[in-house]
């Protein structure tokens, strides 16, 4: 058997007391796609960052083409032919595709012969079937094409192994096939590809071998041909894949609760302005919002929760004009907010869990201070209702894991018995079990009569939970689907196509 392009042996990596990686063996061979599969937090990214020289392992060895190496930095890894494409691209938006690729080439002469460069880059692109407008500024390209530029960069910089970190996360469903075609041609050209993903079907469709990680350890490495969905699920979840507590019950949809009336926002430095949004939400209804990243989901959530105000149009809450209400007033009127980044947007890391429960809640006031007994009782009840383990109420939130921070926010927001829950990517970063607990809690809240506005990047999650799904594209509504008419293809088409007339008529 040929020597692997890169090989990791007996890797151990700790962060403090936490064993982030304990991996006996992982390798990538010539002309192979090796999927690294696991839940969020399973250690996939840590392992790939070790391979890319970003972290040094505490023990173990890395071999490139059979030779022991020790990477002090990603530059060393790149010099050894190991490249990585991150979820956040490292492209210069104002420069052309050609310039972006050329800038990354280690052998770029001081005074490049542009014509020769162009021929070289165009030939490489053609060989891989990448159709890219070489002179267009990168900023003008769609995300899928930018990703191809990143891959082309790696190829022309002489990488032999390319690590792709959750490459489909930024793509619409139908753009994924283009990515996998590129991956297939890289494989045919003899590159070693590491495909980092938490999606089973991607691993099964694109990989030659699949390695499954759980809690920092490699639990299995299987040939993709011999693997089945069920077998992988069993390895990923220790034999008991998470299941939804109940099939979506026919919820009683009640009176109108929230109405957006031709609402536009002004956006901001990094925000996508909303344009002419007409949207209604009733009690007991779960409204899903789909869209590729940055289509205005966050801005819609901020608008409904009162963090932003409409520039034009009106927001009605329970029949009254709430366009100018502050975040505090919306909260007191019964709006709960669960953001994707709870440590930045929903709680104060320096304060304890109990203090975060008490902040801004007038009902806990006692004299000039707080009734801490009541705060603790309520917090315990809220965690019990959510059905998740309760972290120490006196621990600073900053010391909790990402999943636990999300649980704290979820418990607090649902514990207030809100009439409306704004949940922005609430399961991002959670392991499958916690994600299911969050979904069940949202559904339970809806069956008690609350409305839920749910943003998610997983269409399956939206289809499972939502009574209705609307699609946002560039800050505008680009489609609406009701339960029964859900399909990945149709919703996906509305997410990207400019001429989607799907269900707007």
């Amino acid at each position: 058997m040929a020597v692997p392009l890169i090989e990791a042996r007996n890797i151990l990596k700790r962060f403090g007391d936490l064993v982030a990686n304990e991996v006996e063996s992982f390798d990538v061979r010539t002309g192979e796609v090796h999927a690294l599969l696991g839940e969020n937090g399973a250690g996939k990214t840590t392992l790939s960052k070790i391979l890319y020289g970003f972290y040094r392992p505490d023990a173990g060895e890395i071999r490139v083409a059979g030779t022991n190496v020790s990477f002090a930095s990603p530059a060393d890894a790149r010099a050894a032919g190991i490249g990585m494409v991150f979820q956040e691209f490292s492209l210069v938006p104002a420069l052309s595709v050609l310039d972006n690729v050329a800038l990354f080439m280690p052998d770029l002469p001081r005074v490049p012969d542009r014509r020769a460069l162009r021929v070289r880059i165009a030939t490489a692109a053609k060989a891989l079937g990448l159709e890219l407008p070489l002179d267009a500024p990168v900023a003008a390209l769609p995300v899928a094409a930018q990703q191809k530029v990143e891959i082309l960069k790696q190829v022309l910089a002489g990488m032999r192994v390319i690590l792709l970190d959750e490459p489909t996360k930024v793509l619409a469903p139908q753009e994924c096939s283009g990515l996998f075609a590129t991956v297939a041609s890289l494989r045919a050209a003899g590159y070693g590809i590491v495909l980092i993903t938490h999606k089973l079907h991607e691993a099964l469709a694109a990989a030659d071998r699949i390695s499954v990680m759980r809690k920092g350890r490699m639990t299995a490495t299987l040939a993709a041909r011999a693997a089945t969905r069920e077998a992988l699920l069993a390895v990923m979840f220790e034999g008991s894949p998470p299941q939804s507590a109940a099939a979506p019950a026919a919820q009683a949809i009640g009176a109108p609760l929230l109405q957006l009336d031709r609402v536009s926002t002004s956006g901001g430095a990094h925000a996508t302005p909303l344009q002419g949004i007409d949207l209604g939400l009733r009690e007991g209804e779960i409204l899903g919002v789909a869209g590729i990243a940055g289509s205005g989901q966050r801005e819609l959530g901020a608008l409904v929760a009162g963090h932003e105000r409409p520039r034009r149009g009106r927001k009605l809450f329970r029949g009254g004009d709430a366009s100018r209400w502050t975040a505090g007033r919306m909260r007191r009127a019964g709006v709960g907010f669960v953001p994707e980044n709870p440590l930045e947007a929903a709680c104060v890391g320096e304060l304890s869990v109990a203090e975060n429960f008490a902040l801004g809640e007038r009902r806990y006031a006692s004299g000039l201070g707080f009734n801490w007994t009541r705060v603790h009782d309520d917090a315990e009840a809220a965690f019990a209702r959510l059905g998740v383990a309760r972290p120490s109420l006196n621990a600073p939130v900053r010391t909790l894991s990402g999943g636990n921070v999300q649980r704290v926010v979820m418990a607090r927001e649902l514990g207030r018995a809100p009439r409306l829950v704004v949940a922005i990517y609430p399961t991002r970063g959670l392991d499958a079990r916690s994600a299911q607990a969050v979904r069940d809690a949202l559904r339970a809240r809806a069956s008690e009569g609350a409305a839920v506005l749910l943003m998610s990047e997983e269409l399956e999650e939206l289809f499972e939970l939502a009574d209705r799904v609307v699609v946002l594209r560039s800050g505008m509504l680009a489609g609406e689907f009701s339960r029964g008419s859900y399909s990945i293809e149709a919703v996906g088409a509305a997410m990207v196509q400019s001429d989607a007339r799907t269900a707007l008529a």
């Binding site: 505090g328 007033r329 929903a346 709680c347 104060v348 000039l368």
Partner: protein
């Protein structure tokens, strides 16, 4: 069992390093560092005047440190303690000279006016900050240069006393507007005001809803706003209270020490207070020990001015030496 936090001093290593650095500089200037330290120790520890002078200086240092620490709690930088102190002195003098009141009411009006002067001077940067016009760290600093000009205008102009033709100063304020002092010393009731303000801050910060909400705003303004806290109100009020604290320090200088408005109200208390608060590192009760340290430093300046014939400004070198040493060997050195 740990000593209470208000007793914390910078670590001994930092103190030794600072004294060595400063001594080297004195020696390089042809002075006698050991003699200088000996003179300082005798003055501060063995003379009644030197010892009580420490308490005279701790008052304004505690107040100007609070002027920094209160806004810092909500994440604002108040570098304008000096200017706010001058405005407090100006307003207090105005009230003491012209308020149509007598007895304790006049003193109360003087105190309130001092607070108001500092608070208004801090309010301008606070409002500019929440309007998104300018950063408060810049505006408070720049206003430090404006406030002494307002004082100068009054003492050269409308309020000028005819007593001295060469030395500009205001009319003497009424006895009723004077803060009481301990007999035969310069130690005055400003120290009691400072102690009360400090205790109030410790209580509010640690025991009340306001304290928790201030911490939340200081640590994560976005989340605090999302949780419905009135963030802008807090920013404005905290800044005004901080300015008011510095204003009270200026009031006490006029009302207790000078008895009139003069051009040099403060030997840089506002700047020293910033360092006191910074070295106390967000721990309000530690302001006590740090204010004592800076009172000693400023006494060093007085002594050396006389015994070694160096300008008072050498205290700036000593302060720099201490800051440098704390940064090098202090508790936070490795984290920074």
């Amino acid at each position: 069992m740990r000593a209470p936090r208000w007793l914390d001093l910078p670590p001994a290593g930092a103190a030794v390093l600072a004294l060595a650095l400063f001594g080297a500089i004195l020696a390089a200037a042809g002075k006698h560092p050991l003699q200088a330290y000996y003179d300082t120790a005798t003055y501060v520890l063995a003379s009644r005047q030197g010892f009580t002078e420490l308490f005279v200086r701790m008052g304004p240092l505690v107040m100007t440190a609070l002027a920094v620490a209160i806004p810092a709690r909500v994440g604002l930088f108040n570098v304008g303690g000096e200017g706010q102190l001058y405005m407090g002195a100006l307003f207090a003098t105005g009230a003491a000279l012209y308020a149509p009141l007598n007895g304790p009411l006049l003193l109360a009006a003087t105190i309130l006016a001092g607070f108001a002067g500092g608070a208004l001077w801090a309010l301008v940067p606070a409002l500019m900050r929440i309007a998104g016009v300018a950063n408060e760290a810049i505006t408070t600093l720049l206003l430090n240069y404006v406030a002494p000009l307002a004082v100068a205008y009054q003492i050269f102009g409308p309020w000028r006393s005819p007593e001295s033709s060469s030395y500009p100063q205001s009319h003497r304020i009424a006895e009723a507007a004077r803060l009481p002092s301990l007999p035969t010393t310069r130690v005055h009731a400003g120290l009691a005001i400072a102690a009360a303000c400090l205790a109030l801050c410790v209580y509010v910060f640690n025991r009340t809803r306001w304290g928790l909400e201030m911490r939340a705003i200081g640590a994560n303004r976005l989340a605090a706003a999302h949780l419905g806290l009135p963030v802008r109100t807090y920013l404005v009020v905290a800044m005004a209270l901080g300015g008011g604290a510095a204003g009270l320090a200026g009031m006490a200088e006029v009302s207790a020490i000078q008895g009139r408005l003069v051009s040099e109200v403060s030997p840089g208390y506002g700047y020293m207070g910033f360092l006191v608060a910074w070295l106390a590192a967000g721990n309000v009760s530690r302001i006590v020990s740090m204010a004592l340290l800076f009172a000693v430093i400023s006494a060093v300046g007085d002594v050396l001015q006389i015994t070694q014939r160096v300008p008072y400004a050498v205290v700036n070198i000593l302060m720099a030496a201490i800051l440098f040493s704390v940064l090098c060997v202090g508790p936070g050195a490795r984290r920074r």
